[in-house]
């Protein structure tokens, strides 16, 4: 086991519209794998190889077959729940039909709660926090903001946006029943060029806070439109940190944007070192901190299992606790969802010594840190474990 090389197949878009994110994340995995090779408890080396799934669920199944042919037993994926769900389902079926050749799937960013609830699988482990957990964290923060009285929800009309709206309403009703929901709008994803009508509507509703699960252009255009119209209310978001978005946000000027995430741009210690070296090497930001937890988790599990065999490692990962960049994290056995610290960060001009995100001169500063239990949500998963 010591000195063995564990090969990991990375499957995310490396070409096409989401290539920027995928390329960055591939580099993040490779960088961290390189760094922690040999230096993990199991003493194994890690090698991460990229497969281009073009963001498409069907192509993901092709790349999975390609990876299987090339002898990979571990796959990581995160960019998009569509591909993630397809992969989870395919790995499950493949393992069932091909005993002895099992694959393990580490999910570092696909956040559809279904993956650890009704569609959960023994072979799937999520390193990110799902939409419902982030919402728990976000609402826990918002409930302590007395100035928030009227919230407007705007989202992309697909599962993620619909879930954000649903979870917010449930959680906030529980935590701050006095908060009024003055608007709950969904728009088709990627179709809106001009958000000013929405801004006008938000303004008319008298909202004092905006909640959105939007990402990519749908987020940056929304922020721009709000700036343009001079509507200065805080925005609570999920995905302001994804590659490209900070640059676009910065181009639009200062705005009140809050992000919920399991990490932020200004960590100290090992992770800060990684981020700095990464930036030096690639002139790009390291923001997929889950890669760090992922490699650590694998290393620890392999040490515990005394093997790199996916079945044994999967069993070993269940309930395993490792040290992360922000305290301990635990892979919950019941649904394979990592329990970890959550942060609320705010987008603002970087002061001296703070990390300038995408060289924009802006940064995400943590304004609230929450222990893992805060964001923990129950699961409906009925895990079917193979004997072993």
């Amino acid at each position: 086991q010591k000195g063995e090389t564990v090969r990991i197949a990375f499957m995310d878009p490396l070409s096409g519209p989401f290539a920027n994110v995928g390329q960055n994340q591939l580099k993040s995995w490779q960088f961290v794998a390189d760094r922690l090779s040999g230096k993990n408890p199991a003493g194994v080396k890690f090698e991460v190889v990229g497969f281009d799934n073009k963001g498409s669920p069907q192509e993901t199944l092709n790349t999975l077959k390609a990876a299987i042919d090339q002898g990979f037993r571990y796959v990581v994926q995160g960019n998009g729940s569509g591909a993630g769900l397809a992969l989870e389902d395919a790995v499950e079926k493949y393992n069932e039909r091909n005993p002895g050749k099992e694959m393990v799937y580490l999910n570092y960013a696909a956040v559809d709660p279904a993956m650890t609830n009704e569609k959960c699988s023994f072979w799937h482990f999520r390193l990110d926090a799902d939409t419902s957990m982030k919402m728990e964290a976000l609402t826990s923060f918002m409930k302590d903001q007395p100035q928030i009285k009227k919230v407007y929800i705007l989202g992309q009309n697909y599962s993620h946006g619909q879930q954000v709206s649903k979870f917010f309403k449930e959680d906030i009703h529980r935590k701050r029943p006095d908060i009024q929901i003055v608007g709950d709008d969904l728009h088709p994803i990627g179709q809106v060029k001009d958000f000013s009508p929405y801004v006008a509507k938000i303004k008319q509703s008298g909202a004092d806070a905006l909640l959105t699960g939007n990402w990519g252009q749908d987020l940056t255009l929304l922020v721009k439109a709000m700036n343009d119209a001079g509507l200065k209310i805080p925005m609570y978001t999920y995905y302001a940190g994804v590659t490209g978005t900070p640059t676009a946000l910065a181009a639009g000027g200062e705005s009140q944007v809050y992000v919920v995430a399991y990490g932020h741009a200004n960590h100290t210690g090992d992770l800060a070192q990684i981020a700095n070296d990464f930036h030096k090497k690639f002139n790009d930001d390291y923001y997929t901190y889950a890669t760090y937890n992922g490699i650590n988790l694998l290393g620890a599990a392999m040490a515990k299992a005394h093997s790199t065999d996916p079945v044994k490692v999967a069993h070993a990962m269940e309930g395993l606790t490792v040290k992360s960049f922000a305290g301990d994290v635990t892979m919950r056995a019941s649904d394979h969802q990592l329990q970890q610290t959550m942060y609320i960060t705010k987008w603002q001009k970087a002061r001296k010594g703070e990390y300038s995100v995408e060289n924009t001169g802006f940064t995400f500063v943590p304004i609230k840190q929450m222990d893992p239990y805060v964001s923990s949500t129950p699961t409906s998963c009925q895990m079917k474990r193979p004997a072993g």
């Binding site: 070409s15 281009d52 299987i68 769900l85 397809a86 395919a90 079926k93 039909r97 619909q162």
Partner: protein, 445 residues
């Protein structure tokens, strides 16, 4: 195989004329071609055995069916659709829902028949949408398909209840009874199911070109106005053909659903529709078998080319550009031109030229590709150092020698290619003059 739109054949002997238009199932040429096709479908999985190859072969079968069905519209009916994925995709969704009913034991239907359900479902959608779509031809037709395509795609994300949201709908094809121990679990079993469907559908669509409606569809493409004056309602011709095309597309979609066991909204996307259009054209819309080539290429391009190089979209774009400019009839037309030369017994003179053309083209491509790869490397992986390997050769993307080498290789390639091209053009022209003379001579007989 005598295909619609093929080069005019010489007039047959007077004695043979009577038999000429009567159906001859034992027409030797046709028999050979069709059995070759069947054999190819059968033998493929024994040649390419990896699991990736198997799933690719399966996808090729599906792509062949869908591209052929698309060509019923484009090639045979002159209807440029930007929304064909709506029909293959709807077939997929209905098929996967049906599969899930079968899994739950609520529907006693053998899994092997589910693609037909997909086909029927698509046809029903076409009855609905097609009615408005086929009211018009030409550009208005194209634009309506674009609009409907966008609408369906947008809805596919909005209605998770039917389309399954981001995760789509998944199913398990190991369901229902298992006659003869066929579970369709192993990919190879499914492949053979797809192969059978592919063969039958190809035959079916070919047969369609030989029916009165199929012929009137060609006539509508060529001159819709005149069609009205020989007693046909052009709208109806388009409408019925549209439904039939959707039926086959739906079968393809149903097979895809069985193959992937998951259907997500991407199957109805405009991007998909665009791919069908591009590859049908690339394969060759003017010949019946063109889309078969197109379907195979489509899977190769999406699955293999992208693994081979990050620049695949650039290559794809360039290939299209050059194909449209220099071979607008697609690959099929290139093949048929050579078949024509061969039928006059002059093909063998050309092989030296072809070899020269191929070699010099490869050299040119090598040079160009090396440069493209170096540029991509600089852009994407500069941080990993300027070194890269391309086709086993170590290159330095910042080194003058690598660039010089690449430019040199490409320039040499271009030069030699031009020389052999000129030679070839002369030869080709000469042969065609010969063929023209020969045809005149035979006609005069």
């Amino acid at each position: 195989m005598d295909l619609p739109g093929a080069v005019p054949r010489p007039v047959p002997e007077a004695a043979g004329r009577q038999a000429y238009y009567s159906f001859r199932p034992l027409n030797v040429g046709r028999w050979v071609v069709w059995s070759g096709y069947a054999l190819l479908l059968l033998a493929a999985p024994f040649v390419f055995t990896s699991s990736l190859a198997l799933t690719m072969l399966s996808q090729m079968g599906v792509a062949i069916i869908v591209c052929l069905s698309y060509n019923m519209l484009l090639g045979q009916g002159g209807m440029l659709s930007f929304g064909h994925a709506v029909y293959s995709g709807m077939g997929s969704f209905l098929a996967i829902h049906t599969l899930n009913l079968v899994s739950k034991g609520q529907l006693p239907l053998p899994v092997s028949l589910i693609p037909i359900v997909g086909g029927i479902a698509s046809a029903l959608f076409a009855v609905l949408f097609g009615y408005v779509t086929t009211k018009k031809a030409a550009t208005p037709f194209a634009m309506i398909t674009l609009g409907i395509g966008e609408l369906v795609w947008a809805s596919s994300l909005m209605f998770p209840e039917f389309f399954g949201g981001e995760g789509g709908i998944s199913g398990n094809r190991v369901a229902g009874g298992h006659p003869f121990g066929i579970t369709f679990g192993p990919q190879i079993q499914l492949y053979f199911l797809i192969a059978v469907y592919t063969f039958v559908c190809t035959a079916g669509m070919f047969a369609f070109t030989r029916t009165p409606l199929g012929r009137m569809l060609n006539a509508v493409r060529d001159n819709p106005e005149r069609v009205e004056f020989v007693g046909y309602d052009t709208q109806k011709v388009r409408y019925i053909s549209f439904i039939i095309a959707a039926f086959f597309a739906g079968i393809g979609g149903g097979l895809a659903a069985l193959n992937f066991e998951i259907v997500t909204s991407e199957v109805v996307s405009g991007y998909r529709s665009g791919a069908y259009l591009l590859f049908t054209f690339l394969g060759g819309a003017t010949f019946f078998f063109g889309p078969i080539i197109g379907g195979v290429l489509m899977v190769l391009a999406f699955v293999l080319l992208s693994e081979f190089t990050k620049a695949w979209l650039l290559y794809l774009g360039l290939i299209f550009l050059f194909m449209v400019m220099y071979a607008p009839g697609g690959i099929a037309s290139l093949i048929m031109m050579n078949v024509r030369v061969a039928s006059f017994g002059r093909l063998k003179e050309l092989w030296v030229s072809y070899l020269a053309l191929a070699c010099t083209a490869v050299v040119t491509l090598l040079g160009a590709a090396t440069m493209i790869e170096m540029v991509y490397h600089l852009q994407l992986n500069a941080a990993l150092g300027p070194k890269l390997t391309f086709l086993g050769v170590g290159l330095n993307a910042r080194g003058a020698d690598s660039w010089f080498g690449a430019v040199f290789v490409m320039a040499t390639g271009i030069g030699l290619f031009e020389v052999s091209r000129r030679h070839f053009v002369r030869q080709w022209g000469e042969i065609h003059e010969f063929i023209a003379r020969e045809m005149k001579r035979r006609e005069a007989l």
